[in-house]
Amino acid sequence: MPEIGIVLSTVVSGVLLGGMLALTALGLSIVLGVMRLVNLAHGDFLVVGAYAGFFFLKFTGVDPLVGLPVIALLLAALAVPLYHFLLAPLSTRGPEAQMMTMFAVSIILENVFVLAFSADTRTIERDYATLPLTFGSMTVPLIYVIGFSIAVALILMVHWLISRSGFGRDLRASSADAQAAEMLGVDVKRVQMLSFALGAACAGVGGTLIGAAFQFGPSSGGAYLLNSLAIVVLGGLGNVLGTLAGGLALGFLQSIGGLVLGDGYRDLVGMALFLLVLAFRPDGFLARARS
C-alpha cells in the first residue's frame, strides 16, 4: 500500500480531474438531454476547442484562458450551421440518421485536422500548465486546480442558465413535451439549435482546458467521447449538476482504481462503472437524489 502522501495526491487530483472531465462531458449532456442525440462528433468538438485555444495563443499571444469566451463563441458559431443544414432536416427521422450524420462530421473533422494541422501531438504551452501545487505531503498539478475551478464555475453558470433563465425553461419544457411547448409558443427548433450551440460552446472551453492540461492530436476525440458518455450516464441524461457529480465520481473512482490496480486500469474502471450504472440505474445514480 503506497504512502498517505501519494494516496492523497492521487485521489485529490483524481477528483479535480473529474471536474474538468465533467466540463468536457457537459456539451454532450445538454445535447443528449434536449435533442436525444448521441453526438458522436462531441470528442472532435473538444479537439476543435483545443486547436482553437492553441492557435489563439499562437496568433494573439493572449492567454487562451482569457480568450475562453471568444473560443466558446467561435464553437457556437460553427455549431449553428451544422444544426441548421445537417441535423434539423433529419429531425423527423430515427435517431440513427442524426447519429450517423454526426459520425460523418466527426471523421471529416479528423481528416481535416490532419490535413490542416498535421498529425503532430500538441499541447497549449503555458507555465501554469506544468507547475506543481504542494500542500504538505500532497502535490497536485496547478492546472488541475485552475481547470477544476473554471469547470465548476462554468457548469454552475450553465446550471443557472438552464434552471433559472427563461431560455432554460423553454429548453426543459421542449425536452419534457415538445408538442405542448410548441402550443405555448415555444419555438422548439430554435431552442434545439441554441442548445446544440451551447453544447458546442461548452466543448470549446473544455477542449481548451484539455489542450493546456494534457496533449491532443487529430484523433484524440474518440477517447474523450467515451469518457464523456460515461460521465453523462453516471449523472443522468441532461442533468447538468448530475454531470458534475458524475465527473467527480468518475475521477474519484478512477484514481482509486489507478492506485489499487495501476494507472492502466483507470479507463477500465470507468467503463465498468458506466455499464453497471447503465444497467441498474439508467437515470443516473443521482436519479433518486433529484426527484
Binding site: Q179, E182, G185
Partner: protein
C-alpha cells in the same frame, strides 16, 4: 341466460391508483360464458383502465382477477392473452406495415407456433370472412379506414381463440351506418363458450348488444343490471349529461381536491373581475376594427385514413364564449388542434384577426394570441408549478410576467401555495388549474379549453367553471370543448354540436339544451 355454476372471469375488489388519483375503486365484475356485458360511463370514469386491468396492460394496485378460478392478476399481458383474454384498443393499434392477414398471424403463431400453415390459413380465412375483411387480407393495415381498422382489432382478438373478449370503444368515431355494421359484427362473434365485454360511449352499441350493463362513475360501480333498466334510469342519464356529479356527496375524491376547491376565488362583480384579471386580458381590438377574431371556413382534417372534420365553418368575435359539444370521436379535439396549428387541415381556410394562418407552426399561432388548454393537461413534469406558468408568458418582461403570475394566483390560490413543487406532483384538479393558468399566462385573446373537466370530481368541475365564469366576466374570448353538456351550456353564449365531423346543431344554449337531438347524439335514445 344459460346458468353455469362458476363464472368464466371473476374480478373482485380491483383497484388502480395513479399517484393520488384513484382510477378504479374496488370494482367487482363477473362474466359468464355466452354473455355480452356492457360497461358505460362518462369520460374518465375508468372504463379503459378496467379493460387494461383485465387485459393485463395495467397492473392492479389491489384485488384479484380469476380466469376459470385461476388467479391471473399478476400475469403480464402476453401470458393473459395466451390464457385466453383478447382485447381491442380504443384507438386501433394494428401493426401498420403488416398486411391484414399478417396482423392475424401474429396472434396465431404466438399461441400456436407450430400450427400447420394450411390450417392457420383456413382459420384466418374464416376470421376475415366473419369480420368482413376478406377483400383486404393482402393490404397493409395502414391502408384501412377507421372502421376496417376496428374490425381488424376485433379479428386479431378473435385470432387468439379467446374465452374473454374485451372491446374498448369500438364504436367511437364511427357514423351511424358504420355502427349498424359494427353491431351486426359483434352479435356475430358472440359464442356460447366465451364472454364479451363492451366498453362504449356510443350507447346504441351497448343497448343493442348487451343483455346486462354496468355503469362506472369516478372509478366506482354506479349501478349494474339488465341493459334496458340501466338506460331507463334517470341517474344514468344525469351522469351522462354531467349533472350526475351534483348528486354525488360533495368533497368526495382525494382531500387535496376538496382543499383546492375551497381555495378557488369566489365570483365577484364584473368590475372586480376586470381589475383582478386585467394583466391577463389582451386589449380588445378597437371597435369596428374589421375582421372577427377567428374564422374557419370549410375546414377538413384528419389523421391519415381517418377523416375527422368534414367541412367545419366557425366565426368567433372578441369576447364571445362558445361551447363545442359532441360525442367521443366527433372531432372536437381535432377542431381545437386545427385552430392552434397542431394539425394542418387538408382543405379550408383558417384566419386569425383577418390574417390567413393556415399551415403556420403552433408557436407562431400562439403568438397571435391563441392559447390552447390541451386535453390531458400536458403539464411539464420537469418544471415547477411557477415555471410551468412562466413558460407560457412569452411576450412579457419580468414585471409583466410578475403581474400575470399574481393574477393567476389570485384566481387559483392553491397554485401559489404549491408554486415551487413539481408540476405533476399535484392532484388532477390542481394540475387542471395549472393548465388553465398556464394558458392565461400568455395573455391570450382567445383560449380553447379542451375537456378540462375530464376525470375530475364534480366539486372540482364546479370550481373550474367558476374560474371560467370569472374569465368570461372579464371579457375573455373562450372556446369550451366539453363532454359535460350542462356545464358548458351554462357558460356559453352560443353552442355548436359536432356530429361526424360537421356541426349537426348550433344555436343559443337554451335552444340546444332543449333540443331532443342533443340527448340523441349523446345517448342515442329516440331512434
Amino acid at each position: 341466460m344459460n346458468a353455469i355454476d362458476a363464472p368464466l372471469l371473476e374480478v373482485r375488489g380491483i383497484v388502480k391508483r395513479y399517484g393520488g388519483l384513484v382510477a378504479i375503486d374496488h370494482v367487482d365484475l363477473q362474466l359468464w360464458p355466452g354473455t355480452i356485458t356492457g360497461v358505460i360511463g362518462p369520460n374518465g370514469a375508468g372504463k379503459s383502465t378496467l379493460i387494461g386491468l383485465i387485459g393485463g396492460a395495467v397492473p392492479p394496485s389491489e384485488g384479484t382477477i380469476r380466469l376459470d378460478g385461476r388467479d391471473v392478476s399478476r400475469l403480464p399481458a402476453s401470458e393473459r392473452a395466451r390464457a385466453g383474454i383478447g382485447r381491442t384498443y380504443q384507438i386501433p393499434r394494428p401493426f401498420l406495415d403488416m398486411t391484414v392477414e399478417e396482423n392475424l398471424e401474429v396472434a396465431q403463431y404466438s399461441i400456436e407456433p407450430f400450427i400447420r400453415a394450411s390450417l392457420a390459413r383456413e382459420q384466418r380465412a374464416v376470421l376475415l370472412a366473419r369480420t368482413g375483411l376478406a377483400d383486404v387480407a393482402r393490404l397493409p393495415a395502414r391502408a384501412l379506414p377507421l372502421l376496417r381498422r376496428k374490425r381488424l382489432e376485433i379479428a386479431r382478438a378473435l385470432a387468439l381463440k379467446p374465452r374473454i373478449i374485451l372491446l374498448d370503444e369500438v364504436g367511437a368515431g364511427l357514423v351511424d351506418n358504420e355502427i349498424t355494421e359494427l353491431i351486426a359484427l359483434i352479435r356475430s362473434i358472440a359464442d356460447p363458450r366465451s364472454a364479451i365485454v363492451i366498453v362504449e360511449h356510443v350507447l346504441r352499441v351497448v343497448r343493442e348488444c348487451c343483455e346486462r350493463s354496468m355503469v362506472l362513475n369516478f372509478g366506482k360501480k354506479l349501478i349494474e343490471g339488465p341493459t334496458a333498466e340501466i338506460f331507463a334510469n334517470d341517474q344514468v342519464a344525469a351522469v351522462y349529461l354531467g349533472t350526475g356529479g351534483v348528486r354525488e356527496p360533495a368533497g368526495r375524491g382525494p382531500p387535496t381536491e376538496a382543499a383546492a376547491a375551497q381555495n378557488v376565488v369566489h365570483v365577484m362583480g364584473p368590475a372586480a373581475e376586470r381589475r383582478v384579471m386585467s394583466p391577463l386580458i389582451a386589449p380588445t381590438a378597437a371597435e369596428g376594427a374589421g375582421a372577427p377574431l377567428l374564422e374557419l371556413e370549410g375546414i377538413c382534417a384528419g389523421y391519415g385514413q381517418a377523416r375527422v372534420l368534414r367541412g367545419v365553418d366557425l366565426t368567433i368575435g372578441e369576447g364571445q364564449v362558445i361551447a363545442i359539444l359532441g360525442a367521443n370521436g366527433a372531432g372536437k379535439t381535432t377542431l381545437a388542434r386545427v385552430i392552434s396549428g397542431a394539425i394542418v387541415p387538408t382543405s379550408g381556410v383558417l384566419r386569425i384577426a383577418g390574417e390567413d394562418v393556415l399551415g403556420q407552426p403552433p408557436h407562431s399561432i400562439a403568438r397571435l394570441g391563441i392559447a390552447h388548454c390541451m386535453e390531458g393537461r400536458r403539464i411539464f413534469s420537469t418544471l415547477s408549478v411557477q415555471e410551468n406558468l412562466l413558460v407560457a408568458a412569452r411576450n412579457a418582461d419580468a414585471s409583466a410576467a410578475g403581474e400575470r403570475l399574481g393574477a393567476v394566483y389570485d384566481l387559483f390560490p392553491v397554485l401559489a401555495e404549491r408554486r415551487d413543487h413539481g408540476g405533476t406532483s399535484m392532484s388532477g384538479g390542481q394540475q387542471q388549474m395549472l393548465a388553465i393558468g398556464r394558458a392565461l399566462m400568455a395573455r391570450p385573446r382567445l383560449i380553447i379549453f379542451d375537456e378540462i373537466s375530464l376525470g375530475l370530481a364534480p366539486v372540482i368541475m364546479d370550481k373550474l367553471y367558476e374560474a371560467l365564469a370569472v374569465l368570461k366576466q372579464a371579457g375573455m374570448t373562450l372556446i369550451i370543448i366539453e363532454q359535460d353538456v350542462d356545464r358548458a351550456l351554462a357558460l356559453a353564449d352560443h353552442a355548436y354540436v359536432l356530429e361526424h365531423g360537421v356541426f349537426g346543431l348550433s344555436g343559443p344554449p337554451s335552444k340546444i339544451a332543449a333540443d331532443p337531438r342533443l340527448r340523441h347524439i349523446y345517448i342515442g335514445t329516440a331512434d
